[in-house]
Symmetry: C2
Subunit: 98 residues, 2 copies
């Protein structure tokens, strides 16, 4: 069963191509977001936080006023995994991006 | 009235000395926090977000699971101002640190 959840780099690339706005940078799955103001940005972060807690998979992220940057990575696997792809997809759903 | 709200570097230093856990680094007023888990960290962030919105002064901050890093700075003044000191104090109150 070795590698049953391990994705090859090309599998990750293909999956990321399907995810609006996301790119791989420094080995992390990243997306930047810009909102109208802090309230809207933090409201988004709160929705993502609930989704992340539910999935038991959490983003590395930063916020400055109306901007949010998210980097997804599975620290335990030292790789981008299906968990990251799933959370990215969920975040896009929160935004209504897909 | 020039400089009525402008603090001298020594005034800022003196004020920071009174703020548990905060230090000046790269011209920003910074503090790092470690919680038991993500829920506790994000709960803290939510309380800070409400305080920041109320003060109309917002942190630059990042979160990774149970860790939160906050950098306070008044971008419009290109300096650490009383607004930053006040928000740092409020954050410490949220934590029960003073």
């Amino acid at each position: 069963m070795l590698g049953i959840r391990k994705l090859s780099p090309s599998q990750v690339d293909q999956a990321v191509d399907q995810l609006t706005g996301w790119k791989i940078e420094d080995g992390r799955l990243k997306r930047s977001f810009k909102f109208d103001d802090f309230t809207e940005a933090f409201g988004f972060m709160t929705a993502v936080a609930l989704a992340a807690e539910k999935a038991d998979h959490h983003p590395d992220w930063s916020n400055s006023y109306n901007r949010v940057q998210i980097a997804l990575y599975t620290h335990s696997d030292k790789a981008i995994t299906q968990k990251d792809l799933d959370l990215a997809k969920r975040i896009n759903q929160i935004l209504g991006d897909e």
